[in-house]
């Protein structure tokens, strides 16, 4: 544990989908800066407990909260549980996300619903649930995890790209609405990050993908976490409604 005061000391941070991947790295990064970190998970309790252990080892306080953000009533319960423990929430990281890739003509309607309800509606209704607390304290930072797929889709990612594009549009509108209350809302659009979610596609097309990444490597969850912490910090007070691509430049070229 660091002896100097962390940037997020005394701040309460809620990270959704924090049992693994980007959410886990974000939770640990906040913990290193002294935050109280609420670790939300849907089903993988063992993995979430591991995140909690790492959060505590890093110098933060951990609270495990099971909730399925695709269920609206769960969003409210999730926020209530965090507030019950730590009285408020200063930072919300809407990270929980799923993919159900497949060509549109073979679209399974349930898959579409799952992706949109988790990625988009989870972000919307969790934001709605935390805003009264942020408004009352005249301080709040919301960071939504989008994807480069919001702007540069791949075949088979109709649902995922749509959900992330909508998250970015929502980010801008919410930022406008809540700016007078000292609440900022921004998004991070990660590129190809080494997580379970991208495991399959990296395995199938490793060389082709790497060839399109100007920095010649995949991103690490920690690369994304650093940007999340920046947007949640006082250094980003004047930034709202923006999307930062953390993608090693993958969206810059034309892919040839």
């Amino acid at each position: 544990m660091s002896s100097s005061k962390g940037v997020f000391e005394d701040k309460v941070v809620l990270v959704t989908g924090a049992s693994r991947g980007i959410g886990k790295a974000v939770a640990i990064a906040f913990a290193r800066e002294g935050a109280c970190v609420a670790i939300n998970y849907r089903s993988n309790k063992d993995a979430a407990q591991e995140t909690a252990s790492l959060v505590e080892q890093a110098g933060g306080k951990a609270l495990l909260v099971q909730a399925d953000v695709s269920v609206r009533s769960d969003c409210e319960k999730l926020v209530d549980q965090v507030v019950e423990k730590w009285e408020t929430i200063h930072v919300l990281v809407n990270n929980a996300g799923v993919t159900r890739d497949g060509l549109l003509m073979g679209l399974d309607e349930n898959d579409w619903d799952t992706v949109l309800k988790t990625n988009l509606e989870g972000t919307v209704f969790l934001s709605k649930a935390v805003l009264p607390h942020m408004m009352m304290q005249k301080y709040g930072r919301i960071v939504n995890i989008s994807s480069v797929s919001a702007g540069n889709g791949r075949r088979g990612q109709g649902s995922y790209s749509s959900s992330k594009g909508a998250v970015e549009a929502f980010t801008r509108v919410l930022a406008l609405e809540v700016a007078p209350k000292n609440i900022t809302v921004n998004a991070i659009a990660p590129g190809m990050i080494e997580t379970d979610m991208s495991d399959l596609v990296r395995g199938l097309a490793n060389k082709q993908i790497l060839a399109q990444i100007p920095v010649s490597r995949y991103g690490k969850p920690e690369d994304v976490a650093d940007s999340v912490l920046f947007l949640a910090s006082d250094k980003a007070d004047y930034i709202t409604g923006q999307v930062i691509r953390v993608d090693g430049g993958i969206t810059l070229g034309i892919g040839i």
Partner: protein, 127 residues
């Protein structure tokens, strides 16, 4: 049970917090929008603070109207129609709709939202 003065004092505290105004800027006749500079998000802020301060529940659209003045059935050429006025009387009994009905221009509607109106609304809720 709180006296009207006590309710007024707590309502003033909520407005000072929500709107960032000084206490001496707030008077019973102050209009929330015109005099105290409230914007749309501030109305939600005020509702949350009143709920917490008085331990009451204010239903959505219960204090400030929703979907009435944006409904073409209730507003025509910038004026609230008879039907709209009736809707406001039914849904917003805490507002002085009779006074507004003399000149039902939508631009005048915000003037109904005064500090005194909030005090009366909360007092009724508490009773």
């Amino acid at each position: 049970m709180l006296t009207k003065d006590e309710v007024y004092s707590k309502v003033t505290d909520c407005l000072v917090e929500a709107l960032g105004v000084d206490e001496d800027e707030v008077s019973p006749e102050s209009t929330l929008t015109g005099d105290l500079g409230a914007e749309s998000i501030d109305f939600l802020d005020i509702v949350f603070r009143l709920e917490k301060s008085f331990s009451i529940k204010i239903p959505r659209g219960g204090l400030f109207p929703e979907n009435i003045l944006s409904n073409p059935e209730f507003v025509k050429d910038g004026r609230v129609t008879e039907k709209g006025l009736q809707e406001l009387r039914d849904k917003m009994p805490h507002l002085d709709i009779d006074k507004f009905a003399n000149e039902p221009n939508v631009n005048n509607f915000a003037d109904l939202f005064t500090v005194d109106m909030l005090v009366n609304y909360v007092s009724t809720k508490l009773n």
